[in-house]
């Protein structure tokens, strides 16, 4: 039997002075084994510095450049010209850089315009499954490399949390895709729904986990329940000990894991202290990764090479879902109080549907309103 390639310790690295300043000592020491680039957060232009392009090329030439989309809005009910343009840009980027794989986020974006809003979940239904599979097939066709999907931090109910892993599995199956298991997102759900890790992790398709994310976040007090704190996935603090613990417990469970990525926003890396902590977090992550070498297994390495339709045809759409998403976004973005959110939702097209708004946890609906209002245009 032979061993698989080792798991690579990586950084989320974008064109951001603060992220790059924090990452530079690690890059100089040769410790960053791969980088993940959110390619769609940058409006492509001739003004991108040559050195940043060279950095992308350097990792791409070694098959260590990961592409991580943010704004595709995979599960929007309506197909838009912006999504078509996103695919075209991906096709161009994939021709220019050698991405090891491309990933996106689960959910649909609130907000009235492309590039605004934040991702929120959708019902798990035959229709949304069809939509998501259609979108993933188009991503696979555009990039011609393995395609994956990241789990979402936010959920409205414990039932939704429990079904999330299996729905992700069903979404990626037709493209032979994989999962990014974001452990801070999992941590948010474990806390916000008082769930048990050992029970929840079993519900994920761990044989499809090719990448793990770790990051920090923040706490927000619930106005509805004064003794409750909500864990938010804001990427603006150091990685908590609890997330490192989740990493140690999860590494052995993922037989096809290839990358572990540290994420942090640049706006939280402006001080020497925060950058030093970032370096320590990376070192701690890398040490855990090195303690769990690729296992000796009889099964071949799973490459997740994509499958896609050669003639995808017209994009799948769901006008009813689109209308519901528009109403939900509008209510969350404009309601002046939690009570108003509840009242308007009960009178909306989401009532008594697969959305199951009647079973949404109040503290999470409150959080959805907070998220939508923070990120609206």
């Amino acid at each position: 039997m032979s061993s698989r390639p080792p798991i690579l310790s990586a950084l989320a690295c974008n064109l951001d002075a603060d992220i790059l300043a924090a990452a530079l000592p690690l890059l100089e020491a040769g410790q960053v084994e791969a980088i993940e680039w959110s390619f769609d957060t940058l409006y492509w232009a001739e003004q991108v510095p040559d050195w940043f392009l060279a950095l992308l090329q350097a990792y791409g030439s070694q098959q260590r450049l990961l592409g991580h989309g943010v704004y595709f809005s995979l599960l929007s009910g309506r197909w838009t010209s912006e999504q078509q343009q996103w695919l075209q840009q991906l096709r161009q980027l994939a021709a220019r850089f050698s991405f090891a794989h491309i990933t996106e986020h689960f959910g649909f974006f609130t907000g009235q315009n492309f590039h605004h809003g934040a991702p929120l979940p959708i019902p798990y239904s035959a229709s949304t499954l069809r939509l998501g599979r259609d979108r993933l097939g188009r991503i696979a066709e555009a990039c011609r490399c393995p395609v994956g999907l990241e789990n979402l931090a936010f959920a409205y109910s414990l039932e939704e949390v429990k079904r999330h892993g299996e729905f992700l599995n069903q979404l990626v199956e037709p493209v032979n895709g994989f999962i990014i298991l974001d452990l801070h997102n999992l941590y948010c759900q474990l806390h916000n729904f008082e769930a048990d890790y050992d029970e929840l992790i079993k519900l994920y398709p761990l044989d499809r986990v090719r990448e793990i994310h770790i990051s920090g976040g923040s706490w927000e007090n619930s106005a509805l329940e004064p003794t409750r704190r909500i864990r938010r996935d804001t990427h603006d603090e150091a990685v908590p000990d609890e997330v490192f613990d989740l990493l140690a417990r999860t590494l052995p469970k993922c037989p096809h894991l290839k990358y572990v990525v540290l994420e942090q926003l640049g706006n939280a890396l402006k001080t020497e202290d925060s950058r030093a902590q970032f370096g320590r977090d990376f070192g701690r992550m890398a040490a855990l990764v090195q303690q769990h070498p690729a296992p000796l297994l009889g099964r071949p390495e799973r490459s997740f090479q994509p499958q896609w339709s050669s003639q995808p045809g017209a994009a799948a759409q769901d006008s009813r879902l689109h209308e519901q998403q528009q109403q939900l976004s509008g209510i969350l973005e404009t309601a002046l109080s939690f009570e108003e959110v509840q009242q308007r939702l009960r009178a909306s097209a989401l009532a008594n549907t697969d959305w199951a708004i009647e079973h949404w946890a109040p503290h999470m609906l409150e959080t959805a309103r907070s998220i939508a209002q923070k990120w609206k245009k």
Binding site: A17, I19, G30, T41, Y43, Q47, T234, L265, W375
Partner: protein, 58 residues
Amino acid sequence: MKLPKTLLGAIAVGVAVQATTSCGSKKNDPTPKEEQAGKTTQQGGTKTPINCPACGLG
């Protein structure tokens, strides 16, 4: 992974002269995306890189 010294030097210079833009101001409050002047529109013109927060939106 080792990177060429010339590349590392170029990154260091680029970061030092703040050739990039970065989002954000307050701690624990990632700022919403901003549109910089000169961003291309249907009118054409020069595109300017916009650095939006990647993930961390929840």
